[in-house]
């Protein structure tokens, strides 16, 4: 059993208005050290698979077909072994 942790964010070239609004609020808090904020989605998948490679492939297929829209989003997958 594996756990895939998926991060979906807007592509770098696309303005992220939610991130920008949050960045604004952080500046109001005085946290001027924060240079940029990007807000995305975090998705966890429990995957029954024979190997880490297979789990990654399944997660990848989930991302390209549904979880991310690659017209506007990038995704990153991290696989962990579930105890």
């Amino acid at each position: 059993m594996y756990k895939a942790k998926v991060n979906v964010t807007l592509r770098k070239s696309i303005l992220d208005p939610k991130g920008k609004a949050a960045h604004h609020a952080l500046q109001n808090l005085g946290l001027n050290e924060v240079g940029d904020v990007r807000i995305g989605k975090f998705i966890e998948l429990d995957i029954e698979a024979g190997s880490e490679k297979e789990a990654k492939e399944i997660a990848d297929s989930a991302c390209t077909q549904l979880l991310a829209n690659e017209v506007m989003e990038d995704y990153k997958i991290t696989i962990e072994e579930n105890s």
């Binding site: 807007l10 696309i14 017209v71």
Partner: protein, 233 residues
Amino acid sequence: MSKQIGVIIFPGSNCDHDAYHAMKSVMGAETKFLWHKDADLSGIDLLIVPGGFSYGDYLRSGAIARFSPIMNAVVDFANAGNPVMGICNGFQILLEAGLLPGAMLHNEKLRFICKDVHVRVEKTDSIFTSKLKKNDVLRFPVSHGEGNYFIDQDGLKSLQDNDQVLFRYCDKNGETTEEANINGSVDHIAGITNKQGNVLGMMPHPERAMEKLLGSEDGKILFDSVFNELQIA
């Protein structure tokens, strides 16, 4: 047999009855509802994918709806050259289904926008706008949070080269000013077709602009065009 219009209902659709009323009562056409689990589009001559919040807009607007059982039939129907109109959430679903290019971002200023807007007719050799004139200005309501149309530079060039942009947001004089681009869409895009021209997606609601009593009947001209082209009564 008279021509028939189909209006799809997804869980969370909320403009299905507006579309049904517009087609049946105002335009006087045979109209029937299609449940998202139906897979049979036989006898349908024009398909409307209505607005709303299918599946609560979970994940992304339209992302889950595109996997509804009826969508395979919709893709076949569209690929066979039959006319499909996606309005608002319907547009988002057609984008997610890959029947139209591009994607929808949250409105640039993050607000849900619910008001009447103006759009300029960019093209009239289309089954959807044949009764209109280029640069006509139409007034339609919009009601969306994710209507900020996005496509990359290559995609935009392809849309322009293939003359796929049907409507652009404009002011009441037809000028595409910065303020008129209510949601931040690329190139002021409010409505596009596929390359073949039989699939339309638009964020504004023509089906809610059918009666003077309700503010505008500009939507009727759009449907008059389609009905004329399809020879629907």
